[in-house]
Amino acid sequence: MPSLAPRFLETNRPGRLRPFKLALGVASLGACVFSPWASTARAQLPAPTPHRVYVSSEKDNLIQVFDPQGLRLSAIDVCMRPRHMMFSRDHRQIYVSCGDSNQMGVVDVASAKMTGTVALGESPEIFDLSPDGKVAFVSLEDENVMAAYDLQSRARLFEVKTGGEPEGIFVMPDGKQAYVTSEVANVVHLIDIAQRKVVKNIRVGTRPRRFVLAADGKELWVSNELGASVSILSTQDHTVKHTLAFKVRGLRASDITPVGMALSPDGKTVWVALGRANHVAEVDRASRQVRNTILVGKRAWGLAAHPDGKTVYVANGLSDNMTLIDTAAGKAVRTVAAGRVPHSVLVQP
């Protein structure tokens, strides 16, 4: 998409074109008090529409926008190979990491436009934000580092060397520590953010991928893609307390490749996408028992729960669609086209 490049350059200059673009977005919505002169635009961004579902599709360079029932509404042009996404703290912006153009795209949710980018290192994949939302911690697969970026000044603040192919990143709610998986080294690094260094390497299963924090912050779940398991770490002493191996009737262990995970809003269920098994596991958080496995599309990875807890959205990377799971019924209710290689799902409360 060469035509996008000039626009990136313009919008990268802070404060010049952004007010104009925002004004247009606001005009089309019709209402909202807005000051085009404010230099910190974020606080003045119009409120986003609630209950929108956003899906990054890696090969379309788009974020697809759906309503909660899975009806596709529109698409947002973003940077090349969009993967992981997160909302800003006020939910008015989406940050999206772009693996091929080595950028963080900043999307204004209300106007559905990418308004700027932050240049990142080689092949960014998963990231997390500091508790104040100002710093992004990004895993750079090809540089084998976790790098920290100031999202306002766009400066690379520091980096911490990791094992090969760092992937999942999780910053603890107090902002003092971060966990990073290394897919190649089969470890989770515990990083002290103030000291900017690895303070502990925790061996987990083969090819560890993503994290989800559970049990009121006491447990950190780590998916092991080639271990067909989840390692449950204690955030108190940073040791593996339990390994939960997945079994799916009729499938061999080698076909079960867990990657994406999501916690239900009530904290009682962890949803684990089982990759090539084409199933999602519904795991009881407390007893660590699999309650149900639900057939979805091919190579289910990214997934997210609706804040009302009634629906789980699953991105199926190899069948280019998204499956909606009715959590009460424990069944897939709909599968909708979601662009080429859907990666992650984000749901606006």
């Binding site: 092949s123 697969e141 090809d142 911490v160 060397k161 990791t162 094992g163 090969g164 192919e165 290394s182 897919e183 190649v184 080294a185 089969n186 470890v187 690094h189 260094k197 690895v198 303070v199 502990k200 390497n201 925790i202 061996r203 083969t206 090819r207 080639l226 271990g227 061999r252 080698s254 076909d255 490749t257 090539r276």
Partner: protein
Amino acid sequence: MNGLRARPGRWMGAAALVAGGWLASSWPVPARAAPATVVTVAVISQPDDARYAPRRLEQAYPGHPHGRPLAAARMAAEEAGVELEVLGLRLKVIEFSMVDAPALPAALAQLKAAGVRHVLADLPGPALQQLVQLAPAALGGAMVFNVGLEDDALRGDQCAAHLLHTLPSAQMRSDALAQYLAARNWRKLLLLQGAEPQDALQAQALMRSAQRYGLKLVQTRLFKLGTEPRERDLASTRLLTGDREHEVVAVVDSVGEFARTLPYATQWPRPVVGSSGLVALGWHSHWERNGGPQLSRRFYKLAGRPMQAHDWAAWAAVKAVAAVLADDPKAPVAQQLKRLRGGSVYIDGAKGPRLSFRPWDGQLRQPMFLATGDGVVGLAPLEGVLHPTEVLDTLGVDEKESACKQRL
């Protein structure tokens, strides 16, 4: 490529050691870590190995090595650094070049002095066999990885309990191809075969695959390179492919020169498979899933050329050493072999599923790529191919067919 090539002129003695370990200090570990126990892996090669002759490397035939595999072995050791450091271990890869087969006993003595038990053999057949014979006694227990030869016999009646293979066998390659053709219902094959002994072995493998997957060899013809008018029916791609019954031309050419001239040069519009056209490979640098791009990029940065199957095999062998060490850091080599050949130690080969060794012949199970000059068009085992226990065992010699008697 230059940095990896043999430098025969510089070899003074029978053998020489080139240190190639990685510095522990470059690893992200807590500063208080205790000094690591070093496990040394030797990559043994011959400087005058014909497969690495400069003119041959220039040709870069598909399925042939495109350079020495040392860089890939070192890359795997580097990748394992963090995981092993946690366990107080460090992998070091050394290059060991052996002028000729008679130099082997002296070479082994040097390896023993360096504490080597894990050997990657990138050697021609006779030298490999000699190494396999002498290594266990000479090194006080040894594990040998064949990373360069696809001969089925090495996995069959010439197998050894301490010999493992990470490069796919000829049978695995032809099975992958046969699965692909069967899945498309392209079943009638014209087989063109060269005069090299390797060609006969590859043709045998292809015939077994054809039988296994219901392909029909409608005709087999020998080809011969040349321009002599009286032998033109052996050399002309059009005359060799003139009959009409076949749907696909399968070419078995271990040299590669003839096969290269065949696609788009047949009498009838027929696809070419085997040694050119559609080729079954253990790695392809354009594989875009399962972390493939990251692996290929890392290798390219290190070696300055695209990664291919022989590099992957060396990388996978060191990964296997790392995996078995991580599994039980204190196990002696005999125990490690048992674990690897027991099929319970898995490695991540960036090809999708976790990979393990077959207990019956020491071959690493793995998916195979079906590739054209341009990229990957298929992945074997093909979808829909079934096996009672492990679908990867539909590629290559399965337990009941194996002629290997030296099992653990």
